[in-house]
């Protein structure tokens, strides 16, 4: 056999060296062939997509690249463009942002006090870190608890004692629970926890704050809600809405799953009514209808009314998302908790909610992102949020006729906020998934 082999001329005697694979089967070329040009349909789709991307980029790139950042008005922008690029060139006039960015961020907040909202934002980010990342020391959570009051004081200002009195009400309520529970049981404690702070706020807080202020006048310049505007107002409404609607939403979800007839029916009715009506209607209710119901001359802060409405609206959605999480838990978890002899609140707190909330995270964050973007609806009730301000900015003769630059800026700002929320939710999901395995 081997002899024949050796003698046959057309049989190789030596091994060929390893050759490089054909060009069309390696690297970028292979990838392009397989993914972009594998069939006639794909070739057509690829070419169409390239054409589309090219059209968009070729129009947008010069616009961004030629953008003008220093000018006093749109006319000046156009003059600069004509002088440097010629009248037909496309150029963005981002000078409007340079000129008005403070207004877009802070609205009509007094410019000498800009450090207050800025500091508030920093404190907010720092303050919620211990809540977001469990690796940080747990004691920092006390700082987070004080955060709402600190932010309230920083943003609105006034005497520090007003804020202290509001906080004192909550402390009183908490103390009432601690003291009354051993004496009179849960019901008495709950009534006390609600009544004592309210009585305190109505009757004692005002005079007490005044007298304390006369002894030790500490405070910041008072800033009215109507001076709030721009991204500041979006963030205030958004953050307050998010912070308040999550606990309220969880309570509503539990209420809807509850066996207690009245609690169940009230929660269901609340959720369905709030959810069944568009947010814009609730905002109009807050701004127009409430004025008729309240006694004439009442000045119930518009921003507060909006925050309440946004919170209620978002809470209804959160409640349904959480209810989904509750329903997704196997019945064994509930029964297991019961068989351990845990009370309702203990089983919810230790067994059910941690699992249900974990399931609901994507839905909850989704609602929050929606809520944050929905804050732009306040433009219809005359609050100057970023979108409202674009109109005001256009109304000045300097900037009349400018559109895209403002919207690009606002879109970018919203994207940063919403994208980071989305990323955090992904991080949280991954982390909880890992812990579970």
């Amino acid at each position: 056999m081997s002899d024949i082999h050796a003698q046959t001329a057309y049989v190789r005697t030596a091994m060929l060296p390893q050759a490089a694979p054909p060009v069309r089967e390696t690297g970028a070329v292979k990838w392009v062939r397989e993914n972009l040009f594998s069939s006639w349909l794909n070739i057509i789709l690829t070419l169409a997509s390239i054409w589309f991307v090219w059209t968009v980029v070729s129009h947008l790139f010069p616009w961004f690249y030629n953008s003008i950042w220093r000018a006093k008005s749109l006319t000046e922008c156009r003059a600069i463009r004509d002088a440097t690029l010629g009248p037909d060139a496309s150029a963005a006039c981002f000078a409007v942002i340079t000129d008005r960015w403070k207004q877009l961020l802070f609205g009509f907040y007094p410019s000498s006090e800009y450090w207050r909202p800025t500091l508030s934002l920093v404190l907010l980010v720092v303050g919620i870190l211990p809540m977001l990342f469990t690796t940080l020391p747990r004691k920092l959570l006390w700082g987070t608890l004080a955060l709402p009051f600190v932010l309230f004081f920083l943003l609105w200002g006034g005497s520090i004692w007003t804020t202290v009195m509001v906080a004192a009400g909550f402390v009183l309520g908490f103390a009432a629970i601690k003291i009354l529970t051993p004496i009179g049981g849960a019901i008495l404690a709950a009534i006390g926890a609600v009544l004592i702070p309210i009585l305190f706020w109505i009757y004692a807080a005002g005079p007490l704050a005044e007298s304390l202020h006369s002894i030790l006048p500490i405070g910041l310049e008072f800033v009215q809600s109507k001076d709030f505007g721009g991204f500041m107002v979006s963030t205030v409404i958004g953050v307050a809405g998010i912070a308040l609607s999550l606990p309220l939403g969880i309570v509503l979800a539990l209420g809807r799953k509850s066996d207690l007839f009245i609690v169940n029916k009230l929660s269901t009715a609340f959720i369905e009514i709030i959810r069944g009506v568009p947010l814009i209607v609730w905002l109009f209710t807050a701004s127009l209808l409430l004025n008729y119901f309240l006694p004439p001359g009442t000045n119930f802060d518009l921003l507060l009314r909006v925050i309440i409405m946004v919170t209620l609206f978002s809470a209804a959605y959160i409640a349904e998302v959480v209810r989904g999480g509750l329903a997704a838990l196997p019945k064994g978890q509930y029964e297991g908790a019961d068989s351990l002899g845990l009370s309702y609140w203990q089983s919810m707190q230790l067994i059910v909610l941690p699992q249900a909330l974990k399931i609901s995270i994507p839905g909850i964050v989704n609602s929050f992102i929606g809520l944050f973007k929905d804050t732009t609806l306040v433009v219809f009730i005359g609050i100057l949020d970023p979108i409202g301000l674009t109109n005001s900015i256009r109304a000045s003769t300097d900037w009349n006729g400018i559109y895209w630059e403002l919207y690009v800026f606002i879109g970018l700002m919203f994207f940063i906020f919403c994208f980071s929320m989305g990323r955090y939710s992904l991080y949280l999901e991954k982390k909880l998934q890992r812990e579970h395995r």
């Binding site: 009509f108 309210i198 109505i202 309220l248 109304a395 000045s396 006729g401």
Partner: protein, 339 residues
């Protein structure tokens, strides 16, 4: 549930803090500021500048009223209102007066229970066309496509005008002024129609304003003016006569430049003296100080000065006085005598 109750408590607390409003003037004086409702932004009429200071034609009237009351044109809180919220804001007392280029109509005066204190701008619906269309009168617009804001009186006015002139048109419905601007410039319609002042302001923003003309026909009456609530006539009088003082000042030649000098000593003209408080005491009859008229004129000048500064021919808006000239110059601006 604690949180809901807390919010409820806040409501109760804020109601408790409310005071009943007897006379608007007393409320305003106690507050130390005039709450004036304006638009959220309309070129030439009301807009905040880069520092958040409101400027414009309507804003100037708010400032004049504040100056008449407090002697200080900056003692005003400007409350931005939208087309939907403006009337409720006034009815509920959130604002003391509304200067938001609002058309004076029968139902607003009677049914909605407001008092218009006069007309500070006589507006009307007009047409804007590109020069290249070669049209010089709205009656030549047969078969034209017209950009029109839906659900407004301008839509009805347009239909009436074309029907009564026996010509046809093709409507292009749009939602907002900003959209209209884009559509018109993109050539989606031959004609854009809205209030003439709005057309002028829109045209001013074009890259080449000279390529577009506003046709001479005005097809509707839109008298715009400040308004107050029914029922407090003393307050209405203050707003009305401040406005009249500005018009009279133009007629009598009192300007922001010479008002100090004229008010320092009585002049030969008794009406000037009465307005400026150097003769008689008209201010006291309204519960204001003696120099209220001087302060109002000092705030932003007389009617003509306010017009020229904000929307006049030397501004980008570039409106001619037209109907808003003084009655002595063929316009409709006319003030009753100060006596």
């Amino acid at each position: 549930m604690n949180k809901t109750l807390f919010l409820g408590a806040l409501t109760v607390a804020s109601i408790a803090a409310a005071a009943s409003s007897a006379a608007t003037l007393d409320d305003v004086k106690a507050r130390g500021k005039l709450n004036c409702g304006v638009t959220t932004g309309l070129p030439g009429f009301a807009a905040p500048d880069a520092n958040g200071v409101w400027e414009g034609f309507d804003v100037a009237f708010c400032r004049a009223v504040a100056a008449a009351i407090f002697g200080d044109p900056t003692a005003v809180e400007f409350v931005p209102t939208t087309g939907e919220t403006r009337f409720t804001a006034l009815q509920s007392g959130e604002i003391d007066m509304l200067a938001r280029n609002t058309t004076w109509t029968f139902s607003r005066d009677t049914d909605l229970k407001f008092d218009f204190t006069g007309v500070n701008y006589y507006d009307g619906q007009g047409f804007m066309v590109p020069k290249s269309l070669g049209v010089s009168s709205a009656k030549d617009l047969d078969g034209a496509t017209v950009c029109i804001q839906t659900g407004t009186t301008t839509e009805l006015n347009l239909a009436d005008f074309f029907r009564s002139n026996n010509i046809s048109y093709q409507p292009v419905p749009i939602q907002t002024n900003a959209e209209a601007q884009q559509q018109y410039l993109a050539g989606a319609c031959d004609v854009y129609t809205t209030d003439a002042s709005g057309l002028a302001a829109t045209r001013a923003t074009f890259e080449a304003p000279a390529d577009h003309i506003i046709l001479p026909e005005i097809i509707s009456k839109e008298p715009l003016g400040p308004l107050v609530r029914h029922g407090d006539n003393a307050w209405g009088d203050i707003v009305m006569w401040t406005q009249n003082a500005l018009v009279s000042a133009e007629e009598l030649g009192i300007t922001s430049a010479n008002v100090e000098e004229m008010a320092s000593a009585p002049t030969n003209n008794p009406e000037i003296n009465r307005i400026l408080g150097t003769e008689g005491d008209l201010g006291a009859m309204m519960g204001l100080s003696k120099d209220w008229g001087k302060n109002a004129i000092l705030a932003g000048g007389n009617y003509g000065e306010i017009f020229e500064k904000n929307i006049g021919e030397n501004t980008p808006i570039g409106l001619a006085r037209g109907l808003n000239a003084l009655w002595t110059e063929g316009g409709l601006q006319y003030s009753p005598p100060f006596r």
